[in-house]
């Protein structure tokens, strides 16, 4: 028992603000069909299914059963996983555990969300403790704003620095046909001009200080699916499987007031564990590409410091020096990232899938112009918990 496991297939739907033409089940079917086609497998080849979303976004609590027309899970083992923002990365990790345990050879991992079907802020408020914090705080934006305002204060970071992250991700999204926000008006303009436009625009209103519209991810409808396979079959399915090198997860304390706001503690600890497993000492040099769950602009500065790509307060230098751009030393979010699509339950699956296709060489226009040996994907959840996955081209020892 105990097997190496790899990703051998990935499929996703195009993100949009509202998929009016399909219901949730039908949207899941599109992603599953795309993943099966990518791996050249049939649903009969799948041994088990892991599926996830956040119950409150659609108001359906038995998604594992409800979705079988879309998941293809009729008379198969199915497990539903819900961990808030990290749902998609946890779905991927759970599918990996299935295969790595030696109990299953081919496991389908599905994430999906139809944010258009309910009130995202109203649903996210359920992530806060009802007695101590829910009465005086609401939704997703406020918590992130409190984080951003502390980070700006500690490091003298400006709104131009935040906008630099947005510009990178949204320019990258122009290469991704599945991205929700493809802002064509940005095409061909240089970075400094775009940053100036964002911070001077009156339409770009402040939602919660210091966060403007352009600092935040969209609400997206989309589904995504991955196929994990054991070492016994992976290489017969995919010419270049994306091997799982390490997975790590950390949770912290629940109250916002008790977190250490000088860093993202859970992301730091999970990254450190994953790097130790793979023997990575200098993440900036050794990792070839990242798909990071960055739901708002300043996370693209602060959290890359927590991961260990640079020291505290140095994130903005990496951004402005172009180190994280497509042709930089450590390209981040070639897909356009969460800033360009956030179908919450699917978002983590997309991070892992986009990291995998860079290794598999299937990323199309957003494929890096170099050999990708190690790719990193992360997940972020509500009151600061974190998932980290490292994928590799070489089969782990």
């Amino acid at each position: 028992m105990g097997k190496r496991a790899a990703i051998v297939g990935f499929g996703q739907t195009k993100g949009s603000s509202s998929r009016k033409d399909v219901n949730g089940i039908e949207m899941i079917h599109e992603a599953v069909s795309a993943a099966l086609a990518d791996a050249e497998l049939g649903i009969e080849d799948i041994d088990a299914v892991v599926i996830g979303n956040m119950d409150h976004f659609e108001g359906i609590n038995y998604v594992d059963m409800w979705s079988v027309e879309g998941s293809g899970g009729v008379m198969k083992p199915i497990i539903k996983v819900t961990t808030g923002g990290t749902t998609g990365t946890t779905v991927a990790m759970c599918a990996y555990y299935h295969v790595a345990s030696g109990l299953f050879d081919r496991v389908l991992a599905i994430g999906w969300e139809k944010n258009s079907e309910s009130d995202t802020t109203g649903a996210i408020i359920t992530a806060y403790d009802p007695i101590w914090e829910r009465p005086n705080m609401a939704g997703a934006i406020g918590g992130l704003a409190v984080d951003a305002s502390r980070y700006m204060h500690d490091h003298g970071v400006t709104e131009r620095d935040g906008a630099r992250v947005t510009v990178r991700d949204r320019l990258n999204a122009l290469n991704n046909p599945y991205a929700h926000l493809r802002q064509e008006w940005m095409r061909g303009k240089d970075v400094a001009t775009l940053v100036d436009l964002l911070v001077s625009s009156e339409e770009n209103q402040v939602l919660a200080y210091p966060l403007r519209m352009s600092d935040l991810c969209p609400r997206t409808d989309a589904a995504a699916a991955l196929i994990f396979a054991s070492e016994d079959v992976a290489e017969t399915i995919a010419p270049v499987p994306a091997w799982v090198l390490a997975v790590a997860n950390r949770h912290n304390t629940v109250y916002y007031g008790d977190l250490d706001w000088s860093l993202n503690e859970t992301l730091e600890a999970a990254s450190r564990q994953a790097f130790a497993k793979v023997g990575i000492r200098e993440p900036l040099k050794e990792i070839d590409v990242c798909e990071l769950y960055l739901p708002y602009s300043y996370a693209g500065l602060a959290w890359i410091e927590s991961i260990g790509f640079c020291g505290p307060g140095e994130g903005r230098r990496l951004l402005w020096d172009g180190v994280t751009d497509m042709d930089g030393e450590i390209p981040m979010n070639p897909s356009g990232g969460v800033m360009s699509s956030n179908p919450i339950g699917a978002t983590g699956v997309i991070r892992v899938g986009e990291a995998a296709i860079q290794i598999m060489g299937k990323a199309g226009l957003r494929q890096l112009n170099r050999d990708v040996k190690i790719a990193m994907a992360t997940g972020f959840g509500g009151c600061y918990w974190a998932d980290v996955l490292l994928l590799g081209k070489n089969k782990p020892l």
Binding site: T121, I125, P130, W132, N136, G139, A145, V146, S149, R150
Partner: protein, 149 residues
């Protein structure tokens, strides 16, 4: 294609009552009856928890030592919510943030009042303003107001 019925609408309204427990209730009773703020202390970890916790997160031991905590403290971080939201029940702009009280190890998440949004800064000293009518919940603290010297 023209749909006869593109959506089916619904609203799920489920009543809940969340039990505060004896530890939280003791905090709320002191707040309601005497306008006092108390925390639980872990001597092993040298931490004072506000809100109080029954069991220490650091060492997983039960806590039974209560300590009074000052009703004034420092703004650790904050935001100014500019969009109306049903959950606030307040008109924007709404200022709220993390307030570290006296010797507490962490902060309390709460509103900041009696200050223009542009006046609020990280590091600013604030003091609790209590609600006139208190019913034993976290909103018995109305908000924290700047300490003007």
């Amino acid at each position: 294609m023209k749909d006869a019925k593109p959506t089916c609408e619904g609203r799920i309204k489920v009543p809940y009552k969340w039990f505060v427990g004896e530890t939280g209730s003791r905090f709320f009773a002191a707040l309601r009856d005497r306008c006092e703020i108390w925390g639980t202390r872990c001597s092993r970890c040298n931490k004072v928890y506000v809100p109080p916790v029954k069991n220490c997160w650091g060492c997983f031991q039960p806590l039974d030592e209560w300590v009074p905590v000052s009703d004034s403290g420092v703004v650790e971080s904050f935001t100014v919510a500019r969009c109306p939201d049903a959950m606030f029940g307040l008109d924007p702009p709404v200022v709220y943030g993390l307030i570290r009280l006296g010797k507490a190890s962490g902060s309390l998440l709460h509103y900041i009042g009696e200050a223009r949004p542009e006046e609020v800064k990280v590091g600013m000293r604030v003091k609790a303003v209590f609600a006139d009518r208190r019913s034993g919940n976290i909103l018995d603290i109305k908000y924290f107001a700047p300490v003007r010297e």
